[in-house]
Amino acid sequence: MTDVAYDPLSSAEQPAIQPRSAWAARLTHGLLALLPGLAFLIFWQWASGRLIKEIYVSKPTAIAARLYEIFASGEIYPHLWTTGQELVLGYVIGVTGGVVGGYALGRSPQLATIFEPYVMAFYGVPKIALAPLFVIWFGIGMWSKVALASIMVFFLVFYNVFAGVRSVDRELVNLTLVMGANQRQLTYHVFLPAAAPFVMLGMRMAIPYSVIGVIVGEFTSSTQGLGLFIHEASATYDPAGVFAGIVILLAFVMIAGALAGRLERRLLRWRTPSGHGPSDI
């Protein structure tokens, strides 16, 4: 046996790193990454009122106080609840539509030649411009925001899945057919796993877009939601309130992104670290 396996888990040449020092290294890394952010906050705090009027930019301590206030008084919870529902619904509907549509058009060249020009044309439409129209169609409530978020998410996921399914190696498909696969087995064992990196990439990229869709929808017209909260704070010259709303959105995007990253690593553990999947943007 002359073959040698590459096994990242048990490479004998490299001395094993002590768990404690590894933990310490991670901590140092984390602290180093925090430094620029911390420096920025300190500068902001110092500059506010000195270089720029506080009424324009507020300051970190005021924003923290405002955040505490809106959570302590419970003022923010109805807004959070509404926006949260809109985000989840818009995201789920958009991703589902994108995966199903992208998969169908990716698998069927006939469908692709008929529908791709239309999808392409609608892709070019700035979705934000549809916001007022959606309010007319779906009303001032939740569903106009869900529609806007899901349509933004849909196109991103659609194109990724479409490209993913079309990039599947024809020879691999033929090989699986010779092994005895029917169409359903082909989907499950070849097309879905092959498209998975593209689906995951689309899902991760779609998170901020769903937030944009929902917030723009709420700006346009709404009765409740974080977008409305930010809009009202801005209208009443309350920059601390605006930034408090933005901090909440930031936290949401970061948490959702981290969850998607974990799911991706779990589902795609077969890929080597230097893998040759679709490139990130």
């Binding site: 046996m1 002359t2 073959d3 040698v4 396996a5 590459y6 096994d7 990242p8 190696d169 020879e171 691999l172 033929n174 090989l175 699986t176 057919l177 010779v178 092994m179 005895g180 696969a181 029917n182 087995q185 064992h189 070849v190 796993p193 092959a194 998975a196 795609l268 077969w270 890929r271 080597t272 893998g275």
Partner: protein
Amino acid sequence: MSDCVLAFDGIGQDFPAPGQRTTIRVLDGISFEVERGKFIAVIGPSGCGKSTLLQMAAGLLAPTRGAVRHRGRKVTSVNTEVGFVPQQAQLFPWKTLAENVELPLLLRGVASSERRERVAKALGAVGLDGFERHFPSQLSGGMQKRGSIARTLVYRPDIILMDEPFGALDAQTRMVMQNDLQTLSLEAGATIVFVTHDITEAVLLADHVVVLSQRPSRLLANIPIDLPRPRNMFEPFRNAGFEAAYDAVWTEFRSQIDIGRAH
């Protein structure tokens, strides 16, 4: 011939020329038969349509003229009674080695306990036990190739079609793989159609060498190789009669190689 399992019967194939209305004739009236338990090597200059013949036998491509018959039945759709070993290993990157080898059995509805047993046996036969849970990206090129062969052997196909399977391997790995393939095919009594462009490989492995001409390909010769088995894959010249057999193939083949012309 009663023992004939696969017959190529007057195969002709035209491919559309890119950007033109005319077609390119690739194969022109190729006929030969494959007997049960025999090892057939198909050799020809590059671009002569050797691989196309295999695709036809697997039912992935319909010939323009003529027909491929598998045990007397004309091949018209995907032929799941053959096994296909492609040039690249083409293991599923998202499945572990064991899952890769298990897949054909899973697709054919073999019970789980029998699957486990046969996968273990197939991996053992190609010398890959202990690597069941590795992903293909964690295996060397030679090991991936062994996995690909195990995945074909595991469902005991009637005929194994191999498309330049060792072309991409380094010289040493290649000799080891040729030796192992000889052992495996003798043990299993497998029927193999093996496409290659390497005369030494063809002569060492095959019972019959089919020589094709340049495009449009015709069958130049079907040469029996009567060297005793097992043959020495590492020192080809030590096999009694090797030189004569090589010479017989080379005599047919040399006219098809023009030096200094682009292929």
